[in-house]
């Protein structure tokens, strides 16, 4: 199973959030970690967390929703309660009067680039 290290996750977030400083992204990630995002991140002291693909996707989805102005708590609720349709290029959630879509292809590209750095 492919896992990612903290630095790789930071690199992915950095390549997606070009308008944010690296320190800002790191603090945001730390704040999410305090909130238990992604699930299973708090492994205890003295151990490095190995991020699984699912964990990375959780972080990246929360990040994409936060970019739209959706706070992390709401984002986590939306992610858990709503049905997300996944296509090769896009992840989409529909509500009765609208939809939120995330460019999956772009995120996959960023993940791939981080693996090869």
């Amino acid at each position: 199973m492919t896992t990612y290290r903290y630095k790789e996750l930071l690199a992915i977030l950095g390549s997606l959030n070009l308008d944010d400083k690296p320190a800002t992204i790191a603090s945001r990630l730390k704040q999410w970690q305090r909130m238990g995002i992604p699930e299973g991140v708090n492994v205890g002291r003295g151990k490095d967390c190995e991020y699984t693909e699912d964990m990375v996707w959780e972080v990246l989805t929360i990040n994409a929703l936060q970019k739209l102005g959706i706070p992390p708590d709401n984002a986590r609720r939306l992610k858990a309660q709503m049905v997300w349709n996944m296509t090769p290029g896009c992840i989409e959630m529909t509500t009765p009067h609208g939809s939120i879509s995330i460019d999956r292809a772009r995120i996959l590209k960023a993940m791939e680039a981080a693996r090869h750095d």
Binding site: A64, I70, T95, P96, H97, G98, S99, I100
Partner: protein, 133 residues
């Protein structure tokens, strides 16, 4: 002698007239109407519509009703109220125009079904939304 023809006043509605429309779109449970009222009024004071102040009945035009609907729809999607109002001010989406509200991100978008909102508005407030606004 010239006769001046006064322009026809824009049709308006009160908050009470707007409430069934909001309830049909955002909260069909009659027991939670107080919460819905509070939420809608909060959006209005934040800038979705003009507030008349205390002691007078507010009357809202089609543009203001539209702004309240869109702000509440964005909030329904999980956006923080401040962000919903900021987006509204930035894009000023209209019925019949583009349904997509692209938000400051390269990889995520919000789409709003403006036709759905317009049809609901036409159904509940036909005197204001007879045509596209």
């Amino acid at each position: 002698m010239k006769l001046a023809i006064a322009p026809e006043p824009e049709p308006t509605c009160t908050f009470a007239e707007m409430l069934p429309l909001l309830a049909s779109l955002f909260d069909p449970e009659p027991t939670r109407i107080t919460a819905l009222t509070g939420r809608a009024k909060r959006f209005m004071t934040m800038g979705a519509a003009s507030c008349p102040g205390r002691g007078s009945v507010g009357r809202y035009g089609a543009g203001e009703v539209r702004r309240v609907l869109i702000a509440m729809e964005l909030h329904q999607m999980g956006l923080a109220p401040e962000k919903a109002i900021a987006l509204l001010n930035e894009h000023d989406p209209r019925f019949g125009g583009s349904a997509r509200i692209g938000v400051g991100s390269l990889f995520s978008y919000i789409d709003i079904d403006m036709d759905g909102l317009r049809m609901a508005a036409q159904q509940h407030l036909p005197h204001m939304f007879g045509g596209a606004s």
